[in-house]
């Protein structure tokens, strides 16, 4: 006779607890805040979906969401091709391989707030190396505390410097895993460098590049520390990305309700775009 018991639940329990404390419970507190209004002293008033409605209609949210997409779009457009180009240019064997790899990995090892502070000082018009050089030697007016365009350029250059290496390392890993036989086949066919890239290297790198784009999308979409330290969202609101705006609302204004609603929308967008992107990239393989 088959014995049945409920023992199996005990085996699921540890994971259940882990996921609960790690994701579900924190998430539910946010959900809790997002549908209520609080005035301190633990007094809550039911708000329903008011915060969500208000937020989705607010121009401030639209503006920071737009800036966020613009930032992420520019980052991906620069970092992915640049990363692939650098990976292609890196040596495949010999003395310079470890040297290149370490040089590439260095920016990623620096703490994020240090990166922000570094670039802040770096670009100061009066004492910063780059700032001084641009303003006083080349005579180009450059001040990211005054000029929104300068602030944007600085943030983007900083992120490119900080994170292109990730794409490089992933693409490089993809490249070195291609057996020599493929290159030989291409030479026998008389394929051009472009064909080798298009028909061998790119398809063979596709999987690592999918990961690279996903990681870079999520990271750049959720970026906070570096631009906060660098520009603090200014000048004005010109570099106030979604996360910076969120913190301003939550901690600056202590509007916990709207901030919680915004967090959930933020999370939903990140999840949705990542899922869409991953599905599109891997759809062809399944066929």
């Amino acid at each position: 006779m088959k014995t049945e018991n409920q023992k199996a639940w005990f085996f699921v329990l540890p994971v259940l607890l882990l996921v609960a404390f790690n994701a579900l419970i924190p998430m539910m507190t946010v959900v809790n805040y997002s549908v209520q209004e609080t005035f301190g002293d633990n007094v809550f008033f039911w708000q329903g979906l008011d915060w969500f409605e208000q937020l989705l209609r607010s121009e401030r949210f639209h503006a920071s969401l737009g800036r966020q997409f613009l930032f992420t779009g520019i980052i991906l457009l620069i970092q992915i091709p640049l990363g692939v180009v650098i990976a292609l240019a890196m040596p495949r064997q010999g003395f310079w391989v470890p040297v290149c790899l370490v040089l590439m990995a260095l920016p990623m090892l620096i703490p994020w707030n240090v990166v922000g502070a570094m670039w802040n000082i770096f670009t100061l018009p009066d004492i910063g190396l780059v700032g001084y050089f641009l303003n006083h030697t080349l005579g180009i007016t450059y001040d990211m505390t005054q000029n929104p365009l300068a602030a944007w350029i600085t943030i983007i250059v900083m992120d490119v410097w900080h994170w292109t290496s990730l794409v490089v390392l992933l693409a490089y890993a993809g490249l070195v895993s291609i057996p020599d036989a493929y290159y030989q086949a291409a030479r026998i066919d008389g394929a051009s460098n472009w064909s080798v890239f298009r028909f061998i290297q790119l398809p063979k790198m596709k999987q690592v590049l999918t990961i690279a784009i996903l990681l870079r999308f999520m990271d750049s979409f959720n970026i906070y520390t570096e631009p906060f330290v660098l520009t603090g969202g200014g000048p004005g609101n010109s570099t106030t990305l979604l996360s910076i705006d969120l913190v301003k609302i939550a901690l600056g204004q202590f509007d916990l309700g709207p901030a919680a609603a915004m967090s959930l929308i933020y999370f939903a967008i990140t999840l949705l775009v990542s899922w869409l992107f991953y599905t599109l990239m891997t759809r062809n393989d399944a066929k």
């Binding site: 057996p179 036989a181 493929y182 030989q184 086949a185 030479r187 026998i188 066919d189 008389g190 394929a191 064909s195 028909f199 061998i200 398809p203 063979k204």
Partner: protein, 354 residues
């Protein structure tokens, strides 16, 4: 059309991969490169294909010097041990790729690809991609590409090594027919002596970067020019031992001796190396003039209908390969019998003398 190598060498980074090599390879029959892993087969193929620059010497195709020509200009095909196909292209596009690069008309490409696909029974797979194919089908795609291209030389570098036993047998049987009558020089590298014998044609034996013997496959199997060639072209390894010739008798270090006949009897007295193939050493006495050997059996194997036994003789290890199943007991002494008329005798410098 012939492929000719004149004093070809290849050194890369101070390491000699190919020692001075002279070969004339003809179309119409398989040219097998036989040698152990690291013997220089792939290096030699790379030089012939133009994938590696010859350090010195000349390569002639059809009488024309192609030593400095690119692989593309030499119009060759190469099929690897690994299944190399363009990953995101369909089988059709894969077979068509060299023709497209060459700028051939669409209708002709269509015809050639389909003809090659028919020969290799790939017709139903033309629209698939490599990762949707089995290993055998992937390799057939690579072979179809070589056939559709109508190259002047086709290099097959252990093309069956990564296929399972059944597929390997099947493709090996087909291979000579596939390339017969196409006017291409076909070079086939393998590390298995058995494969060379099955493919027939001509064989070049390779060892340590040098071709030790080249000729009709059956011919060089029967008459190895030197001890190295005999060793390369024997699986299991050929048995060899020091032997002293005195008068009309040959004597091993452990005292076993036998009467010499024919050419061997006329040799000058002295030290030689005797070698005999494992299947001429039997646990059963086959005739009166056989030499009896005693040795302790160390390893036995049963493969199909043959059984092999490794046994110690003097300070050497010998192998016997005999049809049927024999009741060897590992660790005990057994009697083996060798046929002295099947023995090769090599001079101290390795050359065959009788």
């Amino acid at each position: 059309m012939a492929l000719e190598l004149r004093q070809i060498t290849s050194r890369i980074g101070g390491i000699t991969h190919v020692k001075p090599t002279n070969l004339v390879l003809q179309p119409g029959a398989f040219n097998v490169l036989l040698g152990a892993t690291g013997a220089g087969k792939t290096s030699l193929i790379k030089v012939m294909a133009g994938l590696a620059r010859a350090t010195s010497g000349q390569i002639l195709m059809n009488g024309q010097d192609v030593t400095k020509d690119s692989p593309q200009k030499r119009n060759i095909s190469l099929v690897h041990q690994f299944f190399v196909n363009y990953p995101h292209m369909t089988v059709f596009d894969n077979i068509a790729s060299p023709l497209r690069v060459a700028g051939m008309a669409k209708s002709e490409i269509q015809g050639r690809v389909e003809a090659a696909a028919d020969v290799l029974r790939l017709r139903p797979m033309l629209k698939r991609r490599p990762h949707e194919l089995s290993g055998g089908q992937q390799q057939r795609t690579a072979l179809a590409r070589a056939i559709a291209k109508e190259s002047t030389a086709v290099f097959l570098d252990e093309p069956l090594a990564n296929l399972d036993y059944k597929l390997r047998e099947e493709l090996r049987d087909q291979l000579p027919d596939l390339f017969a009558g196409r006017g291409a020089v076909v070079v086939y590298a393998t590390s298995e002596p058995e494969e060379a014998l099955m493919l027939g044609g001509y064989t070049a034996l390779m060892d340590d970067g040098a071709v030790t013997q080249f000729g009709a496959t059956a011919e060089i199997y029967r008459h190895p020019q030197n001890l190295t060639s005999a060793r390369v072209f024997s699986q299991p390894p050929i048995n060899a031992a020091e032997v002293t010739k005195q008068g009309r008798r040959a004597r091993l270090a452990n005292g076993v001796q036998w009467e010499l006949s024919g050419k061997a009897a006329d040799l000058r007295d002295g030290a030689y190396t005797v070698a005999i193939r494992p299947h001429h050493v039997s646990p059963v006495r086959m005739g009166g003039d056989q030499v009896e050997l005693h040795g302790k059996v160390s390893v036995t194997e049963l493969s199909g209908s043959e059984s092999s036994a490794h046994f110690t003789l003097g300070d050497g290890s010998w192998v016997s390969l005999a049809p049927g199943v024999h009741p060897y007991k590992v660790g005990t002494d057994h009697a083996f019998y060798m046929d002295p008329s099947k023995c090769f005798y090599f001079a101290p410098d390795g050359a065959l003398v009788a």
